[in-house]
Symmetry: C2
Subunit: 377 residues, 2 copies
């Protein structure tokens, strides 16, 4: 018998406090009670997003719905876009923009790599008509973290007024994101990642520069401008996912109580510990610049990554495998959700055991000890 | 002390079984466990929608997101549309179509009225280029129920190949909806109504005629065709709202176990009983053809409807008031959710007490007895 444990880079383990909050009876959303709750939750969410007092909008939908809403609310028709594409999600935003008829320069990188500021600068210099840059922060499919602060600085040097839209789906509350200090224009996330909720909510913040744009493509359900008008008053344009909002408050209380910088540090350490455990048993890092949201690891030579995933599954642990062409070679455990140091040690222990199952000669405790050294260091 | 009770036409009281199911730990949506759950839930949902074996698609979003997704997946660019507009929601779909650049003939009716088949036939005869008709079934803002079966028959006589898209947000599982037998092309709903869930899921069914359309407007998050490709395999295009899907199964089990026709009959009787209670104390029906989803009632002469709503609120009951210009004169209790005959009696009792508060001379038990006569009849 193993307890079921969810160690994927989203969805993640949800704290029992959050599940309990979500089980409260649904209240009507057009009431003073909901208004009060919603305004309070939005205030806490803005604090978590490091934009205190600003509008972070909450949608009933996934992280993708939030990106789409932010895109349609800020990118003028006919804009030329630079899409930084270093994995599955970078690719998704390129597709999204093309779906709505925008011209996109697809700046592709091999999986595991990240865009360097110089490359982005060059792309902008070569394409003087580009006015919008889209990128992932933590590219979940490869476990790589873009240095969004440095990228934004480089973009501003070449194109001061460009819109910079950033997929922070797995980075938000996993690592530092400072939308205003970094000069970003759009930050988007979803509930089932660092916020430790079940899926079903999307979050979107836009800069004043983004809100000032005009001549936009049409949107209706995902009309962020309409949402903003309602949400500043504690209302929503369409029916909100009330019970998930109960859960959101419970999770925000936990994270803000711990302190957002402490949460970043803790999660960075946890991920570093998993990476160290991997290294100790022959699993090299997949990403050049690893994201604290997920430990993307190569399987040791001669081992199929899906067999490692199965080894975890056999022990009750659900981790992510590789996607697309990385499926055979890569696996992705993560302690992004409701996880503590003992969970990290358990991941290391399961990794050891899974590799031993597959015939690897691994000394008892090698991964676990490596993880503990990081955790206690 | 009063218990809090939610008697609005959505959101509604959620059964404790559903809340309990939603509190289960979130599982990863890319697993055989989720796939099995999702296929099973979709099968049950199709049964509830009277389209067994067909694709009813589940979205993370509201009922509006489902309508938009169905609209964009079926209405060719440049189509001319007839929007039957007999209230707030009919009006919403006219706005939606115009937002996306479609030409709409807005067939307006006074609130409380319904479109007669002859009027729709005439509108189509006068506008030979119209190829799409949109309507609400139960128009929640007025409490009126369109005879969608008769409307569809009239539409088919004049324009056999027209697409007929129907907002069934509050009618689904409140009253008979037979998408195929009636020849409809799109049926859309949301979770927080007759399905007795918290808000956060949208449901969409399209006919083969609708799926066969081409040259559509772009969509990305709300791309129903992409969803269909995934959902037939038990997957989703974007992250699904997993915990709400747990709740959905619990609620479908309850409704299917009771029997869908029995549910329709029960809810019709409950609503009739509330209407009878209203009549007994001087509250006339607002709608010419009342929907079983909600009892839209006029306040008695000289009484402001918001004061009646307040009388319910004082007693722990949340009912809906009137919207827009009906606010001063109309109120809308509903037993659409998890409700039994004793809840209906309680609504009648609260109505009596609220009116007595406002100086109406009402015999003790007059509304309650009227409700009981219907319930036991």
């Amino acid at each position: 018998m193993y307890k079921p444990r969810l160690f994927a880079p989203g969805p993640v383990e949800v704290p029992p406090q959050v599940l309990e909050a979500m089980a409260r009876p649904t209240i009507h959303h057009r009431t003073p009670e909901f208004k009060e709750l919603f305004l309070r939750v939005r205030e806490k969410l803005a604090e978590l997003c490091c934009v205190p007092g600003e509008d972070v909008l909450i949608l009933a939908g996934s992280g993708t719905s939030a990106f789409e809403a932010g895109f349609l609310a800020s990118v003028p028709k006919g804009s030329k876009i630079l899409g930084i594409n270093a994995g599955k999600f970078g690719e998704r935003w390129v597709k999204l923009a093309r779906t709505f008829g925008y011209g996109v320069t697809d700046l592709q990188f091999d999986w595991g790599k990240v865009a360097e500021p110089a490359m982005v600068r060059q792309a902008l210099e070569q394409n003087p008509d580009i006015s919008v840059v889209m990128t992932t922060h933590s590219e979940t499919s490869t476990g790589a973290l873009h240095d969004v602060q440095a990228l934004a600085r480089a973009i501003r040097e070449v194109r001061p007024e460009a819109l910079i839209l950033v997929d922070c789906v797995t980075s938000l509350s996993a690592t530092e994101v400072r939308p205003k200090e970094w000069g970003l224009d759009g930050v988007f996330s979803g509930s089932q990642k660092g916020l430790m909720l079940p899926p079903g909510l999307g979050f979107a913040w836009l800069s004043e520069r983004a809100w000032a744009q005009q001549d936009l493509s049409p949107s209706f359900y995902l009309d962020l401008r309409k949402e903003r008008k309602s949400q500043v008053k504690g209302e929503t344009a369409y029916t909100p996912a009330v019970n998930l909002i109960y859960g959101l408050e419970a999770s925000l209380d936990m994270l803000l109580n711990e302190g957002i910088e402490q949460v970043w540090q803790r999660r960075a350490k946890f991920n570093e510990a998993i990476m160290a455990a991997g290294k100790a048993v022959g699993c090299k890092p997949y990403a050049k610049r690893p994201s604290p949201a997920v430990a993307a690891l190569y399987a040791p030579e001669g081992i199929a990554a899906p067999d490692i995933v199965k080894g975890f599954t056999k022990r009750g642990m659900r981790i992510a495998g590789g996607q697309d062409h990385a499926k055979a070679v890569m696996f992705r455990p993560s302690a992004l959700g409701y996880a503590d140091a003992f969970d990290v040690i358990s991941i290391a222990a399961a990794l050891e055991a899974s590799l031993r199952d597959l015939g690897q000669a691994i000394a008892q405790g090698s991964a676990v000890v490596a993880a503990m050294q990081v955790l206690e260091g």
